[in-house]
């Protein structure tokens, strides 16, 4: 809890001290992806159901906030809530058939669902198909969740969402449900034999995860002001979420944040410094780093810390 408080303070103060706009953007993206990965961590890390389809919920959230705003000028807060609720319903609909599957069959099915949804949104005229939606220019302020001169409100909103989802994970980890999730991950048959209703708990984890992912989607849409199926519903988003979590350490509370803290700055800065050549040097570095981390610390970056603290305790 102390670490949590320190981090909260650091993230709250950082944008006030450093007024560089690009740095602030970096922080917002970092928090956004940390939140997304934490949401994925619930289902993928703790309950062990590797989903490649989280872009579905991200996209639903983004469209639920942006489409009413664009068409009727409805305040995005309502859209955000509706998006979260729709995501929960969709999670149940997807979950019923998909949770019967195991391992890779599950992963590929979630991916297939995501691709189908992307195609549907691409050919849905009301949301302008593949062109996507632009946010209309409205008065700045909290009511419309639009700010043109400053990035601070976005930063704090992202921070609040991140701490909300981390708190939920924290409570979950220590509750009875956390043990159920880990039991489902390690031995589903044994868990079922011990009386854990595995389909119910998988479904539960999926619903929470979907809700927070949708909230992040809404936030992303309102922050970037333009969404289209090719970005918010793409496989890239799904995979990036998985990558960040696995890089940081799946199934650990701090994994997603650590993963995002490595991955997002690495991506942004290598793109700024090396990306201009158009030869993909930045991605060479990124790919090599991912492979190296996997080979030398297969538990993710959390594993490095664990190793360090373990050593200290032994001395």
């Amino acid at each position: 809890m102390i670490t949590l408080g320190c981090l909260l303070a650091t993230f709250a103060v950082a944008p006030l001290i450093i007024s560089d706009v690009h740095f602030q953007h970096l922080m917002i993206m970092l928090l956004l992806y940390a939140t997304l990965s934490q949401a994925w961590n619930l289902i993928g890390g703790y309950a062990g159901q590797v989903s490649f389809g989280h872009a579905v919920f991200f996209g639903i959230g983004a469209y639920a906030a942006m489409a009413p705003l664009n068409q009727w000028g409805l305040t995005p807060w309502i859209g955000m809530t509706i998006g979260g609720l729709i995501a929960i319903i969709v999670a149940v609909i997807i979950g019923i058939p998909v949770f019967r599957l195991k391992g890779h069959y599950f992963a590929i099915s979630t991916f297939a669902v995501a691709e189908v949804v992307r195609e549907l949104f691409s050919s849905w005229n009301w949301v302008d198909g593949p062109i996507g939606l632009d946010a209309p220019v409205l008065d700045p302020g909290w009511a419309n969740f639009m700010f043109y001169k400053t990035k601070l409100p976005y930063h704090y909103t992202a921070l609040i969402i991140f701490f909300l989802v981390t708190y939920v994970t924290f409570r979950m980890e220590r509750s009875r449900m956390g043990y159920y999730f880990r039991a489902i991950k390690q031995r589903p048959e044994a868990a079922q034999a011990m009386g854990v209703n595995i389909s119910f708990y998988k479904q539960y984890a999926f619903m929470i995860s979907a809700f927070f992912t949708a909230i992040c989607g809404s936030f992303y849409g309102l922050y970037v002001l333009h969404i289209e199926p090719a970005t918010v519903l793409s496989l890239d988003i799904s995979i990036k979420i998985v990558l960040i979590t696995a890089l940081g350490g799946a199934g650990f509370l701090w994994g997603p944040l650590l993963g995002a803290m490595i991955m997002i700055p690495l991506q942004e800065y290598s793109r700024i410094w090396l990306g201009g050549t158009g030869m993909g040097i930045d991605l060479i570095v990124l790919g090599a780093l991912i492979v190296l981390i996997c080979i030398f610390e297969p538990r993710g970056i959390v594993g490095l810390f664990k190793r360090f603290t373990y050593k200290k305790r032994n001395e």
């Binding site: 993928g44 590797v50 058939p97 019967r100 599957l101 195991k102 391992g103 890779h104 069959y105 992963a107 590929i108 099915s109 991916f111 297939a112 669902v113 691709e115 189908v116 195609e119 549907l120 691409s122 050919s123 496989l235 995979i239 998985v242 990558l243 696995a246 890089l247 799946a250 030869m279 993909g280 040097i281 991605l283 060479i284 990124l286 790919g287 090599a288 780093l289 991912i290 492979v291 981390i293 996997c294 080979i295 030398f296 297969p298 538990r299 993710g300």
Partner: protein
Amino acid sequence: MDILNFAHGDFLMLAMFTSFMMFNNFGLDPLFSLPMVVVLLFFIGLLIFRFVIKPVLGYPGLIALLATFGLSILIRNLVLFFLGPNYRVINQSILAGKTLSFGGLYFSLPQTASAIGCVLVTYAIYLFLSKSKFGRALRATALDKDTALLMGINTNRVFALTFGLGTACVGVAGGFLVNFYAVFPEVGLNFVILSFVIVALGGFGNITGAFLAGILVGLVENLGGFLIGPEFKYTLVFVMYLVVITIRPKGLFGW
């Protein structure tokens, strides 16, 4: 081995590039360079297995996935860096650009030859896995790794050779594909996802299943694209996969 290899498409790209370079620099027809490509890809596979896959075996599958994904980014961008993003096409090889007429029906020669070649290779692998001693060792390892180890099977060697065999197959595909498909660093992406769906549709670890599922996916993709609309052709494939997987959760031929 229970690993989803995201770099599979990039091995395909490497095979296509090798084949293309052989043709461009030495004038060697893709058909003749095919054995070389296959051998080269086999050794690349062994190397990758030794240095990337082996260290992550035994950890949760997610890590292997991450490793192959990083590998995929790495290979793709190394090729992009050294060879550039251009699309390259071979258009005067023995096969490329020719058609075959057969009783009023026209077939494109490279595609027909590739289809025949791939059927032969699939059959050869099927025979190899079901009849040879190595095939038996592989199936034993796939069923139960620890017991196989106790029976004196060198499971690590089996894994390495299997991985090499997988990449060698990609070499065959790449060597044929280069005759009628442009070569560029991102070419693998189009194929890797579809190949996952095909294997899952047929049932993991089942060659007959993968073969038939491949034909089924090809049919649905092209007929559906023709009858309903080209923008829905992959949607149809995925919907078909989802429907099948709800009825048979381990694929069409899984047990």
